[in-house]
């Protein structure tokens, strides 16, 4: 813990970054995002099982405004978002000072203690406990065992359904949607100044939270994540209506890797899935 505080302190004292996005604890011991601008602020930094947020979402706040580097505390999984943002030219690697933390899993329900069962789905099949690259690393790794990936069951259950059953299932889910756009706002990859959902003249997606409006929004959002979602599961965590959004994004991810062997956010110079092609891409579905 001190290690993180110390690292961040140094970074700010030595002006390696003009500010650092990290986690702090409020008086109810709730871990939340926090920006440190002075070495004193850095004292407030914490990292533990409750540091769920993917802080990469804040990077686009500083887009085109990098007088001095932006420091950011990232877990291994969050780093994929940073990489992806670089791939999609939203930020330059040089404009960031990346403080990696070894993560040993984060909670699902923030007001409960971390445990096998109270851990984010992504942690259950986590491959990136340690960030792939960083400018500084804090927190020595604590081991934690991967538990069963219970989302898979639901995934396969849905895949087995008939088309009609699937559509009914999803309509039931989407009808809960209140178009609060929490899924979009927490998503580090949703950096558009104007979301397609806000594009009027012409109206691309009904802004009403009607059956058709919600269906359109949620499917198109998932499609915009195709080959771009880095699987931080923030959307589902943020959804106040408990819509299992990551089923969609994860499905997209599965297709991307099965059809094109592609995973987003793995390498800065890798061409993106959408935006590149191979003449030998599969096309068995085309007559």
């Amino acid at each position: 813990m001190n290690e993180l505080k110390q690292t961040c302190k140094d970074v700010l004292t030595e002006k390696k970054a003009r500010l650092i996005i990290g986690y702090s604890e409020d008086k109810n011991k709730r871990v939340k995002p926090f920006i440190a601008r002075t070495p004193e602020d850095a004292e407030k930094f914490v990292f533990n099982h409750h540091a769920v947020n993917n802080l990469a979402v804040y990077i686009s706040r500083f887009k085109n405004n990098f007088e001095g580097k932006i420091g950011i505390v990232v877990k291994g999984c969050d780093l994929k978002a940073v990489t992806a943002l670089i791939q999609e030219s939203q930020v330059k690697r040089d404009d960031l000072y990346i403080i990696g933390v070894n993560c040993s899993g984060v909670v699902r329900e923030i007001d409960k203690e971390f445990s096998k069962d109270n851990s984010q789905i992504k942690c259950k099949y986590c491959q990136t406990k340690t960030p792939a690259y960083f400018d500084a690393i804090a927190e020595e790794s604590k081991e934690f065992e991967l538990t069963v990936d219970d989302q898979q069951e639901l995934m396969t259950k849905i895949e087995k359904m008939s088309a009609e059953e699937k559509l009914d299932f999803w309509n039931e889910q989407f009808e809960k949607c209140i178009k609060c756009y929490a899924c979009r706002q927490v998503c580090p990859m949703c950096y558009c100044e104007q979301c397609i959902a806000e594009k009027s003249e012409p109206q691309w997606i009904d802004s009403s939270a009607t059956a058709r409006g919600s269906f359109a929004w949620n499917t198109i959002r998932a499609f915009h994540m195709a080959g771009r979602c880095i699987g931080c599961h923030e959307c589902e965590r943020a959804c106040p209506m408990d819509i299992p959004l990551t089923l969609l994004t994860r499905k997209m991810g599965m297709v991307a890797s099965s059809e094109f062997g592609y995973r987003h956010g793995m390498s800065i110079d890798e061409p993106t899935l959408i935006g590149s092609y191979s003449t030998s891409d599969k096309e068995d579905f085309i007559k």
Partner: protein, 668 residues
């Protein structure tokens, strides 16, 4: 908006299955339609006048015509409307013929569909916007890359039309492979004799700037407005001072070190050399890889003997940039060399024919040099190993070509002809000699081509054997050629003195690199890719870049010359006007909402999209956005569909236009 609707009967063609008056009546009730009319032939003069009149009298802002396919008469109706004072892009065509009346029998059904199609067009036109054709200025200069016969022809054609040409050749002299040839089929006239005058003409032409021993380094810009950087390799000789007396070459101490590229390695040349006597320009270059001075720092013989003090060992590569309007690529070909290849190469080689191992197994170009009066044997038919006259000679066709297993599936096209020519030349010089040709098929399509081959067989008694050669082994000065005669069904063994391999034509090894510099596509062999195999065979997908000669595919001299002239013509078409006019169907970026994710750039096949920095007065960066180069954009709209924030739109096919059609579908 006031919309006028015009339904064409196309005589009986639409009228037979579509109730046109009913369609016109239905359209009259669409919101926005103020005038609706049907007529027998809308494309006829009276028909067009009907439209013009309605535009004037009813003050229409937009017109929808229900007629044949837009591919037929869209232009006609646009022109008509323009002449009546409304923007041509405020006209929409509903395809009532090809897509309706001609493909359906049931009149009520067809009529309903026709009404739907009209509604689509009416709803769409409500969102059309007046567009102006785009005008781009044109720099009327052509860059020709490659100084072979194709490059020469293209350069001369453009220059003779009165436009400046920059001709870039990577070798010390222009002339290319043609200058190496002895005679040419099917007329057997001397290659040098017909080529040299052209080379000189190029050199002396006031409109042609010849940059020999140079290579294209970088290309920026777009059709009509390229900026090309050219590397001028150091010749170590001051061109302006050199008179081409040739004394330096004469006195150069190293005679035996370097193989002559021009003689395909059958002779040697000094370190300072001109490739061949008729070289243009007739200025020597120093091959620094062999020159004693550059190796040891001593010698300087050439410098000493040169009266004009033209030798300059300190010379460095220099760079020149040229403003160019069009580019003609004529980089030509190389011969497939058959010796063993590295695993990585797509070409597998022909170890079994012993090329490079047996001195008397040579390729077509080497034979040309032997047969050539200016060649190492001064035209005498002598074989490389012992300079004896070969009494038995074997020609093997399709070495490399048409052989997937050796990496090439295509036919090199010229080998049948030049082998026949070789055999003839041999027989004309060695009257008592025997010539054998192993072939797969004889492909002698072309004017007087088959006659030529017949002549070789019937008059010059060349023995044609249909079949492949499996192996060649050397035994006391003889080459034992083992093959089969598939017609007689026999194994044949010929004790030959000389074997000539008609090896495949392949693209220049650096071709793909150049293609990338130019931003044009190329196939897996490295041949440049035309934009359309039939209708646009000399154009590349990149506007203003054209192809000439064997850099596109194997072809003989007349084909190369024809293609070169075609490419020249394409350049001249471009130069026909001061301004380049283009359909205004291009992408536009909404900078206020663009995030600069540059997905549009990733999917653009024309490099038409660049990053653009937006800064405030003080120069502080506000944001980075995508920027569409109207000169390069071809209007496919892939960027539009890819843009996540919908900040790129394709004019003419805007999202609202398409949505309007989809919304209209709800009324179907």
């Amino acid at each position: 908006m006031k919309i006028g609707v015009f339904v064409c009967h196309c005589g009986e063609n639409i009228g037979r299955t579509v109730d046109c008056p009913a369609v016109s009546k239905a359209c009259a009730s669409f919101p926005g339609v103020v005038y609706s009319e049907d007529y027998k032939y809308m494309c006829s003069d009276p028909g067009q006048n009907l439209i013009k009149q309605a535009i004037r009298e009813k003050g229409l802002d937009a017109v929808v015509v229900g007629s044949c396919s837009p591919h037929m008469h869209e232009r006609t109706f646009r022109k008509a409307c323009e002449s009546a004072g409304i923007n041509p892009y405020m006209v929409e065509i509903a395809n009532l013929r090809e897509h309706c009346s001609w493909i359906h029998n049931d009149i009520p059904q067809a009529t309903k569909k026709a009404i739907d199609l009209m509604r689509f067009a009416v709803e769409r036109v409500k969102f059309n916007t007046p567009l102006q054709t785009i005008k781009v200025p044109v720099t009327k200069r052509t860059l020709v890359i490659g100084g072979g016969i194709s490059g020469i022809q293209a350069a001369l054609d453009v220059a003779n039309a009165g436009f400046e040409v920059v001709l870039v050749e990577k070798e010390p002299s222009i002339g290319g492979h043609m200058s190496q040839l002895s005679e040419t089929f099917p007329t057997l006239d001397c290659s040098q004799c017909i080529l040299t005058p052209r080379m000189v003409e190029v050199y002396q032409h006031p409109k042609i700037k010849l940059l020999s021993y140079s290579e294209v380094e970088n290309v920026e810009g777009f059709i009509g407005n390229f900026k090309v950087t050219i590397r001028r390799k150091a010749k170590s000789v001051k061109e302006d001072l050199c008179t081409g007396c040739g004394l330096c070459a004469e006195k150069c101490p190293i005679k035996k070190k370097a193989f002559s590229e021009f003689d395909e390695g059958l002779s040697n040349r000094p370190a300072i050399y001109v490739p061949f006597p008729q070289a243009v320009p007739n200025v020597p270059v120093i091959d620094r890889s062999v020159c004693t001075y550059f190796k040891t720092g001593k010698c300087e013989m050439c410098k000493k003997v040169c009266g004009r003090e033209a030798i300059d060992f300190t010379q460095q590569d220099t760079f020149v940039t040229e403003e160019i309007g069009s580019i003609i690529v004529a980089t030509g070909y190389k011969l497939y060399s058959i010796d063993k290849k590295p695993e990585t190469s797509i070409y597998k080689g022909y170890g079994e024919y012993g090329y490079g191992k047996y001195k008397d197994v040579i390729n077509g170009l080497q034979f040309e040099r032997i047969a050539s009066a200016s060649g190492p044997t001064s035209g005498e038919m002598l074989r490389p190993s012992d300079k004896k006259e070969p009494k038995k000679i074997v020609f093997i066709q399709c070495v490399g070509s048409r052989d997937e297993s050796k990496g090439i599936s295509y036919c090199s096209k010229i080998c049948c002809m030049y082998t026949a020519k070789h055999a003839m030349l041999y027989k004309h010089k060695v009257h008592d000699g025997e010539a054998y040709v192993f072939y797969m098929d004889i492909r002698a399509g072309g004017k007087n081509y088959d006659e030529f081959v017949r002549r070789a067989i019937e008059e010059d008694h060349v023995n044609y054997i249909r079949g492949r050669v499996s192996k060649i082994i050397e035994e006391d000065g003889k080459l034992i050629v083992k093959g089969e005669d598939t017609i007689a069904g026999l194994q044949v063994t010929i004790e030959a003195d000389l074997v000539v391999l008609a090896t495949a034509m392949v693209a220049q090894p650096e071709a793909s690199k150049l293609a990338q510099t130019l931003g044009v596509s190329y196939d897996k062999y490295g041949y440049f890719q035309e934009v359309h195999p039939k209708l646009r065979p000399v154009e590349t997908a990149t506007g203003g870049i054209f192809l000439a000669g064997a850099c596109h595919s194997p072809r003989d001299i007349p084909d190369c010359v024809a293609m070169a002239s075609a490419a020249a013509a394409k350049s001249l078409v471009l130069f026909g006007a001061d301004m380049l006019e283009r359909e205004p169907i291009i992408a536009k970026v909404d900078e206020s909402t663009c995030n600069g994710c540059m997905y549009c750039q990733k999917v653009c096949a024309y490099n038409a999209i660049e990053k653009k920095e937006i800064r405030d007065r003080k120069g502080k960066l506000i944001k980075v956005v995508a920027y569409v180069n109207t000169g390069l954009c071809q209007g496919c709209g892939t960027c539009n569909a890819t843009c996540p924030s919908k900040s790129v739109e394709l004019t003419g096919f805007k999202d609202d236009q398409i949505f309007a059609q989809i919304n209209a579908f709800a009324e179907v």
